[in-house]
């Protein structure tokens, strides 16, 4: 992995003439977790798509990029849906990038990545035979296999049950250390646990929120984390009221 760059986005986006967001100025510090929190429909996923280069149909007016040049080829993506291909085994899914680029698959590294997410014994299974949490761990392994300095996370834990979600948050925070991570979420608790910096996306722009002290993943029951979680929720509700 090369040194992780910082990301920036400054501008407005519209889809089919309808504004998605206006006047957003976002800085994602290098090598850290940034949580972009917002309610549905506020355009936070569009921000992520723009960074991923998947902005089909979105008109973006402004500037975005990485501190060290173009973003293409530096980004890995993990979404709410694990996006595993059902006809491939777990290992083949982890090696999907090599298959798609036509490069030599590194089986040894796939094995070590699977070991890191605790799925060594599932290597030859099909995704259909795994639980939701296990599937998401395969998706994490596939993301790690890509070994990109920037990782974009689009609500990757929101379909999981509470216990599995907490475990996945901890595992993901651990294995993505040192990378520039942008996590889009609608969960205040998640942002309070995982953000080195936390931004709330509202109709009127981004609000910087001071994160709780301590390194991530922060304990779920830490009073400081709970306080930040409460104030984030208040901010989301305020934004919702302002829109109604």
């Amino acid at each position: 992995m090369t040194i992780a760059p910082a990301l920036h986005l400054d501008g407005a986006a519209s889809f089919d003439g309808v504004p998605v967001f206006a006047g957003v100025s976002l800085d994602v510090p290098a090598g850290q977790w940034t949580c972009l929190l917002g309610s549905s429909g506020v355009g936070k996923s569009t921000v992520l798509k723009l960074f991923a280069g998947l902005d089909a149909g979105v008109e973006f007016d402004g500037a975005l990029g990485a501190s060290d040049g173009p973003l293409a080829g530096q980004v890995a993506l993990m979404a709410q849906d694990d996006l595993l291909l059902p006809w491939l085994s777990v290992t083949e899914n982890v090696l999907l990038g090599a298959r798609l680029r036509g490069t030599r698959p590194d089986h040894a590294r796939a094995q070590s990545v699977l070991a890191r997410v605790g799925l060594t014994d599932k290597a030859d299974r099909r995704p259909g035979e795994l639980s939701g949490g296990q599937r998401q761990r395969v998706a994490l392994a596939r993301t790690l296999m890509e070994d990109r300095p920037v990782v974009l996370l689009d609500e990757p834990f929101s379909a999981l049950d509470a216990r599995t979600r907490a475990q996945m948050q901890e595992l993901t925070a651990e294995v993505l250390t040192g990378r520039t991570v942008l996590l889009v979420t609608h969960e205040p608790a998640e942002a309070a646990r995982l953000g080195h910096s936390i931004k709330v996306m509202t109709e009127t722009g981004l609000i910087d929120v001071t994160p709780p002290p301590g390194d991530i993943p922060r304990p779920v029951d830490d009073p400081a984390v709970l306080r930040v979680q409460t104030s984030l929720l208040a901010q989301l509700r305020e934004d919702a009221n302002a829109r109604d």
Binding site: G53, A79, D81, W87, G97, R99, L100, R101, G102
Partner: protein, 245 residues
């Protein structure tokens, strides 16, 4: 509830009984509607003749099926890969469906002669559209998030097609093939009716012309059984090949 084969046997018996009942009730002469017993007798007596012509029709159908599947499959991939091809060729394909395939049979016989060629061509033409369109539709329905992921991974369109879109669309291809298995014999038989010296379609016309209605029915039933077996075999094969996962 009866199981699949039990209900198939039961409805076959019911059909035969109805058939025999109609023959008895109206006292129909054998040159109008022969009864099932007579047809069965004829089928047995003329088994060599029927087998010979079945082999011809089966050859036409199987070659047509393979060619139609390959052509339809490649066309669907080409259309799915290229928006240019879609805008140029798709209207043409839809228009071609407005032409009754039956009307093409005499022309194909004129161009390709009385042999296997014109019948294979008919079978290919009749299955080409169902195969192409069901595979094409499936290719266009690929989960857009898979495509997004593949693009972020730096995949080129051809590799996305080969490693994601085609495998994901194979069940659609399989359902096209199952339809094709039923349509292909229709194509071959029409071709034989218009001009042939061999095949079950030819045998049916010949028997009809000589008032050998029992032989005609025997050929018809063999054709129907062949079609059903083909449909089942293609279904099993498609399931085995394409519906893993």
């Amino acid at each position: 509830m009866m199981r699949g084969w039990q209900s198939a046997v039961a409805s076959a018996v019911l059909g035969l009984a109805l058939w025999q009942g109609v023959v008895w009730a109206y006292d129909l002469p054998r040159f109008i509607l022969p009864g099932p017993v007579l047809v069965a007798e004829t089928m047995w007596k003329s088994r060599a003749l029927i087998a010979e012509h079945t082999l011809i029709t089966a050859t036409e159908v199987l070659i047509g099926l393979v060619l139609g599947a390959v052509l339809g499959g490649l066309s669907a991939i080409g259309l799915a890969a290229s928006p240019m091809a879609r805008s140029l060729v798709k209207p043409l394909l839809v228009f071609s469906q407005a032409i009754p395939v039956f009307a093409l049979a005499p022309i194909l016989t004129l161009w390709l002669g009385y042999g296997l060629g014109s019948k294979i061509a008919m079978a290919v033409i009749i299955i080409y559209f169902p195969v192409t369109s069901s595979f094409f539709d499936a290719l266009m329905r690929t989960n857009p998030d898979w495509l997004g992921l593949a693009r972020v991974m730096g995949a080129r369109p051809a590799r996305i097609m080969w490693h994601i879109r085609i495998p994901a669309a194979l069940p659609g291809f399989a359902s096209g093939l199952r339809l094709a298995a039923v349509y292909a014999p229709i194509g071959a038989i029409i071709g034989e009716w218009v001009g042939a010296s061999k095949g079950l379609g030819y045998l049916m016309l010949l028997a009809n012309g000589r008032a050998k209605i029992d032989l005609m029915f025997a050929a018809l039933i063999v054709l129907a059984i062949f079609t059903i077996l083909l449909h089942v075999a293609v279904g099993k094969l498609a399931e085995k090949l394409f519906e893993r996962a």
